[in-house]
Structure formats: structure tokens, C-alpha cells
Amino acid sequence: MAPDNKVDRWIRDNLFNAVPIAIAVMDKEFNVVYANHSFEKMFGNWKNRKCYAVYKNQKEVCKECKALATLKDGIPRISEEAGYNKEGRLTRYIKQTFPIIENGDILFLVEMSIDITDTERIRKERQLLFDQVPCNVMLIDKDFRVVRTNKKIREMFGDIEGTYCYESLKGTSRKCADCTAHQTFKDGKTHTGRSIVKGKDGKDINFQVTTVPLDVGDGQFELVMEMAVDITEMVNLQEELEDAHAFMQSLITTSMAGIIAVDHVGDITILNPAARDIFNIVPSKLITMQELEYMLPEGFLNQINAGPGHVHLPETDVQTIDGINVPVRLVGFQLSRGKSPMGMAIFIHDLRELKQLETDKIEAERLAAVGQTVAGLAHGVKNLITGLDGGMYMLNSGMNQGKVERIQEGMEMLGRNIERISKFVKEFLSFSRGREIQAELCHPSDIAEDVVSIYKTKANNFGVELIFEKKGDIKPAPIEYESMHECLTNLVGNAIDACMTSEDNDKCHVWVRVYEDDTNAIIFEVVDDGCGMDYEVKKKVFTNFFTTKGLGGTGLGLLTTKKIIQEHGGKISMESRLGKGTTFRIRLPRKQLPKIIEHNDEPKN
């Protein structure tokens, strides 16, 4: 039995110091009288010290001293304590206190302490993680009872530990059909799913749920950990995005304007119904970049690509897929996100209807003008007839009375009024005819210069200085030369008349100016410093048969001028101050000028 003895001796002599548990013995006065190596390693020097000084660095007995209780009743105790180790660091330990009793007296207390500082730290950290992780975490058992919840769940749903998860989370009396925890319990694997739960405020909360088996080490598990992330915001954003997309899609689909979008690799991603209509592309047919290039004006796509900014063609033609010209307005621009290109978008406004309306409107205006003219004609004719009547009266009464002078005057009146009728009829015919304007490329300044050179001498004879002024460079433009010549002739004639009517007519001037303004409009100005017009005359300037010239004018000159300017897509305006002079301004925006009519030069035989 020698080995046994040896073991016994080792136990008696060495075990006390070898056990990894701190053991101390203390007397009734709390003096530590004996301690092992582990104790010394943990709490340091103990000899001749009170237990509360050694354990807790205190000067008095602890308020809730477990040893004191055991000293009183002799019952062993286990307690969790916090003290300070020999380095003075906070130490957590579990302490068992046993009394050593002899003949009913408690002589000493034996205290055995296990350091749980690290364990405690890990436990706390785990709890912290469990509570503070930004998702809901809970443990549920096989009956779907909630065993534990983290802080986030408690904040969201209150204390639900011990309840059935489906009852407290979803308010149903049966577990959910798509329960991921159920699947995990069945196959022991991780499962994910979506779940919609009513929050405290009654609003739906969307969760992304993951359930994992809580394996305690032997491959068996009793609990499932369920982790749920609130994805309500994401779901809402996704819904908003879908709404926005649907909204945009319906705008594109119902847009009156044609919309085409091309992505950065050159695929046509949007071709809305309006665009299909304009280009005559059947609903399901896809088109290629080559086809798009063919349909759009040459170089348009390159122009967009050259960027930046948008390319705007207010009036141009595109071709349908089957090669028919369509008048449109085009806007194209590059699409980009930050600096990375996303492709381009093109807007097409069909101008066919507008063009037709424009033609109709011009025709309606012309008919209205003719109508007005006919109404005015009666007025003009009445005056002419009165003139003829007067002539006849003078002639007859002169003959009856034998007054040669009166006969002479009657003849002159008849002559004047007949001439007036003939002039009237000629101008009326010219005014009322509807026709297509025959524009040709010509230099606007040539027209003005020509009018000035024709009238210069005549003006000089009347003591009026006629001056031609050209400002800047003006490129040729499609204009009907003869008509515009007639307009300027009318205005120059009026201006000279205004000078002659002026009281101060010995230093009168008429300027004929031509220039192009910064909006690409050609401007003709006829300016005089003659008599000017009063308010009443100004109001009537462009109305039918208005004349201040008595027998000298038909009242059709300015009306015809206005009509010609309108046929050129332009406008005529007038400023006048009585006694100061008058300015007539013709403004011809280049983009509204008539198109040059191509004459098909058929081979002559």
C-alpha cells in the first residue's frame, strides 16, 4: 500500500497549495490565519491582516458579511463577491464559506474563492452584444415560446419572454406558415425569410429574419436564435422607387412628345408610343442605332455626343422608318450621373398638326383680310362715286350755266376719280390674291440699297435727304425680292410724304437702315424726322383704306406691306411722335423666313 501512503502524504502536504482555488482560514476576529499559494497569488500578502483588508481593501467589516452570518448560524454559504486583487484591480470571485466546528463552537472559517473576473467579463460582453446589436435577437424553444429577448425587442414589443412568439409578435393563435424557426428546428440549418409585424404604433414593420440553431456543443440543440433586421425603410424606399419608376413609365408612355433614350453602349432603351407614331415604327419592333441615325437629321447624334448642354433644333425634318419626311422640333442631350455618362435622351415634337394649323391660320387670316377688304371696299367705292357725282354735277351745272371754268373743273374731277378707281382696283387685286411666296436667296442690304438709289433723286427734289445705312455683315436670306422691294418703297414713300407735310421741311431726313440683331433677325428700318403721327392716326395706320393723303392714297399701301411681311414670317412695328418723326421697323427672324421653293428643272426638249 506504499503508493497509497505516498498519495495520502502528498495530499496532506501539498494539495492545499496545489489546488487552483484560493483558500484562506480566518478566526472569529476576521484575522486571516492561514492561506494557500493560490490565495496568495490572487490577493497577495495576508499575514497578520484582517480578511476585509485582504479581500476588499477595507478598514471595517463588510456590511453584508457572509462570514459573519456563517459565524452566527454555522451554515456554509456561497456568494458572488467583488474585491481587489494584489495589483489592486477589481476582481470578481465566487466564495464558499465553511465553518470549522469543534464541540459545537465555531473555531475558524474556511473560505474558498474561484476567480471569475474573466468569465464575468465575457458574459457581460456577450450580454452587451446581445442587447446592443442593431437587430432584434431572441431565443425560442421548440414550442415557439420566447425564452430570451434582447433590449431592442423589449423596446419594440415590451416584455414578451415566456409568450408564444406568434401570439406576441403577430397576434395570431397559430404559428406562421412560413416560419423559419420551424424550418430550423426541423433540419438544424440556418434559414432566412421575410416577416411583417405590427409595431406598437400599429404600423407594419418589415423584418428580414434569420434563424440559427443554438448548438450547445454536442450537435444537439433545444433553442433557436432568431435575428431580425428592421428593413421597413428599405422596403419603403424600394416601393417608392417602384412608384417613381411606374410614374415615370406612364409619363413616358402617355407623353405627347416622342421620347427616345439610348444607353451608354448604344442600345435603345426607350422608344415611347409617340416616338413610334412619329417614326412609323410598329409597337413591338426594336430599332438599331443605325436606324436611329438614318431617321434623325444627319450629325444630330454626334452633336449630342459632342456635348455639353442640349442640342435644340426648333424646326427640322426627321424621316420615318420608311423614309417619309416629318417636320419636328428636336431636343437632344447627354444623360450622366456625376461624371459617368449614362447615354442620351431625345425629345421629338411632331409639328405636322401645327404646320397644318399654321397654314390654315394664314389662309383664314387672308380670307378675313379679304372679307374686311370687301366691307371696306363699299366704303371706298362710295367716296369714289361721290367724287364722280361731284364731277358730273360740276360738268352739268357748268354746261347749264355756261360756265367754262366749272366745266373744266368737272372734267378734272372726273379724270382724277377715274384714275383713282383704276389705281384702287389694281392695288386691291394685288392685295387680295392668295399665293405662295417665291423666295430666293438674296442680300437684304441689296434691296434696301436699290430702293434708296431709285428714290434718292426724287427725295432730293423735294428737299429730303435719303440716307442708306448698313450695319455689320448680313448673310443672304430667302426673301421674295420684289415684294420686299415694294414694302420698302411704300415705307420710303410714306416717309418722304411725312417730311413734306412737316412744317419744318427744309432739313428733313429719311434713313433706310438694315442690320441683323443678336437673335438672328434681319431688321429693316425706315426712319424719318418728318411730321410724325398723332394718336388717332397711329391707331389706324394698318387698317384698311386708311389714308391721310386725300385723293393721293388708296389706304392699301401699309396693309399690303404688312401682308408681305407676314408672308415672310416677320412683323412690322411703328413708333411715331407728332412733330418728331416716325420709325417703321420690319423684323424678319431668319428661322421663320419662307423656304426656297425648289424648281424641278425638267430637261427641256
Partner: protein, 127 residues
């Protein structure tokens, strides 16, 4: 012929002026002539004619205003006015609707029927 009645002719068409002048003079009236509204107005004040033969060319406010100026002037409002116009009956109806001043004593459309005009003048001056 000291009791010859005096007619003021306001007319801007020279030939019509000659015509009216001849008609009136041939039938025993003396005439004074004005070629526009302002001259006519001034002359009406200075010459105190027995009748005004007023040409109104424009079927709008202007024409009405010219007429109204005569009829609202205390010196002139009692002088009878014959309006001679090519404008037509629309204008006569327009004038008839206006309130606040005397309607024209006579209204004559162009072309002028000289016998009717002379009868109208004689009737008005006989009153």
C-alpha cells in the same frame, strides 16, 4: 340777299368739298369751308353758321367724338348738324344709341342724293 343762310362744310376730300360747295351755293346758301375737324370746330365758333355739314369718315370713337365736341359746346350745341358719311347706317344706329347729347338733325349717306340733301337742309333751316 342779306338773309342768306350760312353753311359750314367740314370735309377732307377735296372733290367732295367742291361738289358740296357747288350744291349749296347753287341753291342760295353761303358757305364756309374747313378741311378737318379742328379747323371746322374753330370756324364754327368764329363764323356762327346756320348749319354744319359734317363729313365723318371713321365709323368709330373718333367720328363720334368730333360730332360730340360740337354738341357739347355751349356756343355750338344749338347749331343743327347734318352728318354726311360713307360709313353707312350702322353708324347712324350707333349714334342713336348714345346718350347725353343731341342726336344729329340730319344724316345723309354717300353717295349724295342732292335733292334729298337740299330738302333736308331746307327743312331743318325752316324750323
Amino acid at each position: 340777299m342779306g338773309d342768306q343762310k350760312k353753311i359750314l362744310i367740314v370735309e377732307d376730300e377735296p372733290d367732295v368739298m367742291i361738289y358740296l360747295n357747288a350744291i349749296y351755293e347753287d341753291n342760295g346758301y353761303t358757305t364756309v369751308q374747313a378741311t378737318d375737324g379742328i379747323e371746322g370746330f374753330n370756324m364754327a365758333k368764329s363764323e356762327k353758321p346756320d348749319l354744319i355739314s359734317l363729313d365723318i369718315a371713321m365709323p368709330n370713337q373718333t367720328g363720334v367724338r368730333t360730332y360730340r365736341e360740337y354738341k357739347q359746346d355751349p356756343d355750338l350745341k344749338d347749331i343743327p348738324v347734318i352728318i354726311i358719311t360713307a360709313v353707312g347706317d350702322d353708324f347712324r344706329r350707333y349714334l342713336a344709341k348714345l346718350k347725353g347729347f343731341q342726336k344729329p338733325e340730319g344724316f345723309m349717306n354717300k353717295p349724295i342724293d342732292e335733292n334729298r340733301l337740299l330738302k333736308m337742309v331746307a327743312d331743318i333751316l325752316a324750323d
